[in-house]
């Protein structure tokens, strides 16, 4: 379990972008439990303020490449120092280079209170306190306390937590659709620091050894080519040398091809898995639709049939529903029509005897039409998914077959090359030495491959046990997600535990890493459908699904009460009806009892979300200390100076809307 940061206060001094109140005393924000609203206008520094908060936590460190969007992938999650230009991001925004600018953040981490002050020009720690006790003001000390109090195995994990859970940056990739990031986040949230460290350590060892082995393998290949050329160049080009040259050339073509196919097999395996799942789901949906229609048909049969013969009902049910004669397997629409007319005429289907019966409405009612249509739709989907499954199976088999064939031909060619090399004259001293070196190198590659295979096997056992432990939390996570998601969305929306298969390094076996997948209801589908990418949902759904997932993980994972979520108001993607639903879920997350802090930044805009949040948070006016009004506290822009009265009018209108709603 992990402790999430609970921001308590932020103060910024001598920074020209945030001169603060008229006395110029800087910016002071107290984060009370619940909502803190940062209101601004274009250019007033909302993003800068959020970045400042982030950099107060991360210091001059980050995970390289994390801010460029896209999936986390195999990227190293080790925190690295920022480059000098990146450290000066606040300095370059102001004329005085932020020479004396400083900021202090107070946050609670577990049971400890951490107070960190930084020079904004360099991000260096200038003062550090733990539970009000002054400690050595260094980055090393700060990182050590953060790791200890947050119960994390590395400072890189702290950065991951900030970027994937606490801060909602625009360049983010939604966690729910990034299984590689989920693997890291679930690890750092739910594995204890020792297990987390072992996990990362084992992965790093495999990656390093994989990389070393591949470099050496490439060196061996290069040496082989050089040697083959050298041997071909010595003396007369006899048949052996000519063959050697041809074989080496072929190896040079096939080895990269083999590597490409190895990469391709991962994608093919995933596609096959998806296609299998879709086809099986379609089978189950079709079965359900079919049985529903059959049920309607049987109600009519029950009403007219004089006996209680299960076999007869079974046969007729299938005949009416599917048109299939179960006795001989033929399609028999005429027989179905004949028996149906007998039933509709209140006659026994077998002998035609007139029988007493109730109404036979179900045969012609709306329900039966609907059920028939459902069967047709599921039939079509089943046929389509079966074709896709067959294609995916064939594609996977083709890749695996190609790998096997290519492996066999590369191996037999290698054996032939060795035989040919052995037949070359022994007096070519330099080449002999080269051959010996090459053999030694190739031997080392083989040893490394064996070691790598052993490490991978050990890791497979380790990760299986970790997965078992993490999966115990899955029901709790799924339940919490549904509670948040149903507030945001009307569609049936659920998480499914779906471990993600991925390699560590470029080769070797696929490991199953912990991950969740999203399922959502959709028109025309009887059950929720897997949504494996952000493009499979609408923009507004995307935003709220991501939020619900973050809130879920924070709620379930935190070892102590309280968490902080910093987001930009998701106003633009909301229609008027959903504003109050979104406000309700956000307010629930930020209820004072939860001790959570919700920091929302927003421009002064027309929408109803902010008024709705203000009202629910019982904020009485712009003077409330939970409002950070950048129109007053930030350095004005040309627009806010020139159009000051218009901005003030918009602000008044916003609070008026909040009050009107309250009344």
């Amino acid at each position: 379990m992990t402790a999430l940061p609970v921001f308590e206060s932020l103060s910024v001094r001598d920074y020209a972008l945030f001169p603060g109140n008229p006395a110029g005393e800087g910016l002071e924000v107290t984060f009370e439990p619940g909502l803190t609203l940062v209101l601004g206008a274009n250019g007033l520094g909302k993003t800068t303020l959020v970045t400042l908060l982030y950099r107060m936590c991360s210091g001059p460190f980050d995970i390289p490449g994390l801010s460029t969007g896209g999936v986390l992938g195999d990227r190293s999650v080790e925190a690295r120092p920022l480059s000098r230009p990146d450290r000066r991001l606040f300095a370059v925004r102001v004329a005085d280079d932020a020479a004396t600018a400083a900021a202090t953040l107070v946050m609670r981490l577990g049971s400890a209170r951490l107070q960190v002050s930084r020079a904004l020009a360099s991000l260096d720690v200038t003062d550090l306190r733990v539970d009000n006790e002054v400690v050595e003001p260094s980055e090393t000390t700060y990182q050590q306390f953060v790791r200890e109090f947050a119960e994390l195995s590395s400072f890189g994990d702290w950065i991951l937590m900030l970027r994937h859970l606490v801060f909602y940056f625009e360049d983010r990739r939604a966690l729910v659709w990034d299984p590689s990031a989920q693997r890291q986040i679930l690890r750092l949230l739910f594995a204890n620091p020792a297990v987390g460290a072992e996990w990362v350590g084992r992965e790093r060892e495999i990656l390093e050894q994989d990389s070393r082995m591949r470099n050496l393998q490439a060196a061996v290949s290069r040496e082989e080519t050089t040697l083959a050329r050298g041997e071909a160049a010595v003396g007369d080009i006899d048949e052996v040398r000519a063959e050697l040259a041809v074989l080496e050339q072929l190896q040079g073509v096939d080895e990269p091809k083999l590597q490409a196919l190895d990469d391709q097999v991962v994608g093919s395996d995933a596609a096959r898995h998806d296609a299998r799942l879709a086809a099986l789901q379609a089978e189950v949906d079709r079965e359900s639709a079919f049985r529903d229609l059959e049920r309607h048909q049987l109600r009519a049969i029950d009403a007219a049939f004089p006996t209680t013969s299960d076999t007869a009902r079974y046969l007729l049910g299938q005949l009416f529903t599917d048109g299939e004669c179960l006795a001989c397997g033929s399609t028999a629409p005429k027989a179905a029509g004949f028996f149906r007319s007998r039933l509709e005429g209140s006659q026994c289907v077998i002998c035609g005897t007139r029988v007493q019966s109730e109404s036979l409405g179900p045969f012609s009612g709306r329900a039966i039409t609907k059920a028939t249509h459902a069967v047709q739709v599921t039939d079509e989907r089943l046929a389509a998914t079966q074709v896709e499954r067959a294609n995916a199976e064939a594609a996977y088999d083709a890749v695996v077959r190609n790998i096997a064939e290519l492996n066999a031909s590369v191996a037999s060619r290698r054996a032939r090359i060795e035989t040919l090399v052995a037949r070359l004259p022994p007096d070519e001293g330099a080449l002999h030495a080269q051959r010996r070196e090459l053999a030694a190198l190739a031997g080392r590659v083989e040893v490394m491959k064996r070691q790598l295979a052993e490490r991978r096997a050990e890791f497979a056992v380790f990760i299986r046990s970790v997965n078992r432990a993490l999966s115990r939390r899955k029901e709790e996570i799924k339940g919490s997600f549904e509670a948040f998601a149903e507030g945001f969305l009307l569609e049936e929306c659920e998480l499914s535990w779906a471990p993600h298969r991925a390699r560590v390094g470029q080769g070797g076996e696929l490991f199953s890493f912990p991950a969740f997948e999203l399922k959502m209801g959709a028109a025309g589908f009887p059950s929720p459908v897997r949504r494996t990418g952000p493009q499979q949902v609408s923009e507004s759904q995307r935003e709220f699904i991501d939020l619900a997932f973050r809130m879920t993980l924070m709620s379930v994972a935190s070892s102590t009460p309280g968490a902080t979520l910093v987001i930009d108001a998701p106003e633009s993607s909301l229609d008027a009806v959903f504003v109050s639903r979104a406000a309700e879920v956000l307010t629930r997350f930020a209820s004072p009892e939860s001790d959570n802090r919700l920091v929302i930044t927003s421009n002064l805009i027309e929408g109803d979300l902010i008024p709705s949040l203000i009202r629910r948070a019982k904020i009485r006016g712009a003077a409330d200390e939970r409002i950070v009004d950048l129109l007053k506290l930030a350095a004005p822009t040309a627009a806010t100076q020139e159009l000051k009265s218009e901005y003030q009018a918009v602000r008044r209108a916003l609070f008026a809307r909040a009050s009107a709603k309250r009344k």
Partner: protein, 220 residues
């Protein structure tokens, strides 16, 4: 082993023989008429444990359902066997289970029509082995009792794996020539025995199901 690449008619015929074999075993074990879900559960175990006897798996992939294994393609063959008079259904009704409609029925063999099928199958060595294997599976699973059979899959190494959520794909094909988890656990019993004692394939199946029983009682 999974039967991929075999034509659909052959696969369906194999499923029908599997169904007749299960109900024959159930008849001998005294657990007929066999409820539909129990029939599907036993069919699942027959597939999952098939590698222990070096037999083929008929349906290597299935959807994990809360109520336990249920294969629509197997059910289609059950329906056909009813139509041919080989199976006699009883207590037929439709139930809404986990937002899905399914048939609820109990089945037993119409021995008059089933006996010739079983005799014919027994005359072929491979099919005779298949029948014997299915019988062993039914015998061992029947020892769990009706409620035990209903929940056995949740404790199974493959179907009950914590790595597969409800609605996920249960794949018992096995990786890279390795048997699936269920068969692997069963085979492990053989490996764990002292070198002078060797378990028969039947004993491994029975030991696996006994282990299932232990797990179920531990969970309970």
């Amino acid at each position: 082993m999974s039967g991929v690449g075999i034509d659909a008619a052959t696969r369906d015929a194999r499923r029908r023989i599997r169904i007749v074999a299960i109900l024959d075993g159930a008849e001998r074990a005294g657990i007929t008429p066999l409820p539909l879900l129990q029939l599907h559960t036993i069919a699942y175990f027959a597939d999952a444990l098939a590698p222990v006897w070096d037999l083929r798996i008929l349906d290597a992939q299935l959807l994990k359902r809360r109520a336990g294994p249920m294969s629509p393609v197997l059910q289609a063959e059950v329906d056909r066997l009813v139509g041919r008079g080989v199976l006699i259904p009883s207590s037929v009704r439709h139930v809404l289970d986990d937002a899905e409609w399914r048939l609820e029925a109990c089945y037993r063999l119409n021995l008059e029509l089933a006996d010739p099928i079983l005799s014919a199958a027994n005359s072929f060595e491979f099919q005779a082995k298949h029948l014997a294997f299915v019988r062993e599976v039914v015998y061992s699973v029947s020892s769990l009792g009706a409620s035990g059979i209903d929940t056995a899959s949740t404790s199974d190494a493959s179907y009950g794996s914590v790595m597969v959520d409800t609605g996920g794909l249960v794949d018992i094909e096995g990786d890279a020539g390795e048997p699936n988890e269920t068969a692997r656990v069963a085979l492990r019993f053989g490996e764990l025995m002292q070198s002078d004692i060797s378990l028969t394939d039947s004993e491994m199946v029975h030991l696996y199901v006994r282990e299932l029983y232990n797990r179920m009682t531990r969970v309970a």
